[in-house]
């Protein structure tokens, strides 16, 4: 099962990197979203996939009996999901504002901060 998950994660990463390399901001944004999910799946797989019960100790016992699911990766993923979702929301708004202000969503044409036809630095005085 881990092998299948590894394959799935690799497909996610491929798609994400492909999208991240494009010039259009919206495609980059989709790449970011897919990248976040790829990482979540990776952490999940890294915590070993077991078909176990939730790690809850019955009331009359001191320790777990039998195999139990690893709860830590799920806690980590929960944190990562919350963070990556908020970042995605911020970047989406930022991309929208950039499109409004700069009239383009092509990163090659976003040259306001680094203008192309800048005068050369003065050579002397």
């Amino acid at each position: 099962m881990e092998a299948w998950f590894a394959l799935l994660v690799s497909i996610f990463f491929t798609v994400a990197v492909y999208l991240l390399l494009s010039k259009s901001i919206i495609r980059v944004l989709l790449g970011v979203a897919i990248l976040g999910n790829a990482v979540n799946l990776l952490i999940f797989t890294g915590g070993r996939l077991t078909r176990g019960v939730p790690p809850v100790i019955p009331g009359h016992q001191d320790a777990l009996t039998g195999p139990a699911a690893n709860a830590l990766p799920q806690a980590l993923i929960l944190t990562a999901i919350v963070i990556s979702f908020s970042f995605f929301a911020f970047l989406l708004v930022l991309a929208w504002r950039a499109y409004e202000e700069l009239q383009t969503d092509n990163t090659d044409e976003m040259r306001v901060a680094e203008p192309k036809d800048e005068p050369a630095p003065p050579l002397g005085y």
Binding site: V32, G47, A113
Partner: protein, 520 residues
Amino acid sequence: MAASTSSPADLSAALVLEPVASADWLVILPVAWCLAIGALLVMLRRKIDWHPYIAVLGLTGLVIIDVLLLRHVLASGPVTMVMGRWLPPFGIAFTVDLTGALFALTASVVALAGGVYSLSDINDSGRRYGFYPFLMLLMAGVSGAFLTGDIFNLYVWFEVLLISSFGLIVLGSEREQIDGAVKYGFLNLVATTLFLITTGYLYASFGTLNMADIARKAEGLGGTAPLMTLTALFVLAFGMKAAAFPVNFWLPASYHTPRVVVSALFAGLLTKVGIYALIRVTVMLLPVQREELSFLIALAGALTMLVGAFGALAQSDFRRMLGYLVVSGIGSILAGVAVGGPGGIGGAIFYALHSMLVMTALYFASGVAAKLGGSFSLSSLAGLYRRHAGFAALTLMLAFAVSGLPPFSGFWPKVMLVKAALDIGAWWLAAALLLTGFLTTIVTGRFFLLAYWRDATAGDGATASATISPAALLPLTVLVFLVLAIGLYPESLLATIQSAAAGLSEPSAYLNSVFPGGAP
């Protein structure tokens, strides 16, 4: 397994049972303090007139807390506090050693200087945008990153400071800022995601995220886990955060766009958090792998230095030039990480602390120069020396410091790094360090001649009577004083840094602090 009786379970093996010593609360206090003040400022969002005073008081408190923390660590070695009383590696640990305490203290000094400078730089609209809450939350993230003892926590603190920095970099929403923020935002998010990917692999290999636990297990896992892959990914992720050579292009594209005080804080704090994480992970957790990757790191460091210096030489804008100087400083630190040993690691830490103070002060100087001269462009800035000789002297001292000339703070770390590089026979690395110092001297000399020495052309500002507000001059003067003091009396700081570096390469005290009872 027989069901036990209803007697309570014996928790002494899993929980800290004695209460935390009151001095140990200092470990968590910098983060909690910043979060509390930040939350208070958010609650008072309608009273924006109070914001600057609360924030400056809060940052003063942070400096005091960090001084006390450093004293505590100096007196009793690394200190650990675990959350929720669960013993590590299950409980999340905040562990402070000398390196973390030194970085946290310098960061708080820089932030306080930024808080005071902001009185002259952030207007009402900036306050309404939430500059001060963002500043406090940024400091919560930065302090958390320096003080935590858990890799996943480090990731979370990175995100805390990243989202605050997003808020700060778009402050004002001018076209230029939005352009810069797009590049800054996307590339930094990719870098932190790369860090998270590596954390996932780390967890898969070690089954733990506690730094001390990882440092202990790394030797035993050497042959079976893909530790080289992990280390290379960490170097890439933190290198991107710190703007090291192949992945540095987001920094000069964005650092000159926000408000001056925001650029100053970014230059002082953010890249150094990446460097700190790099030092922590490669030197303390995976030292064997750092050794094997050292040539690659050294090459990246040398190229970063030279790219930064040549880039700075080609700029005609004061602030964009400074952006390249930040990059060039990161290269020197990477060279120290690559060389290793007490000289290399100590030199890297020293250089990072020096760079935090100097780069922040230089950005402050750029803001003052722009106020006096009306522009950031070297083509139109002129005659500043005539108008304000004292300010020109302060800038000249910073220029010497960033070039690594004595008697300023840049000199000693540079000496340490060059000597360490020569000691292991990496003459080319030492040559790159010296060449970078030489190029930086040309860069700063050129801009000082053009912007300060050159006579103002007739008409523009020869009669201008712009004055520097004390809120801008005070933090600049204090930082320059610190830079000069470190340059003139480096002994005690040097000794502290040497023992910090020794604590990183030989982390037995750190491990003892996290696992006081020995191996669990």
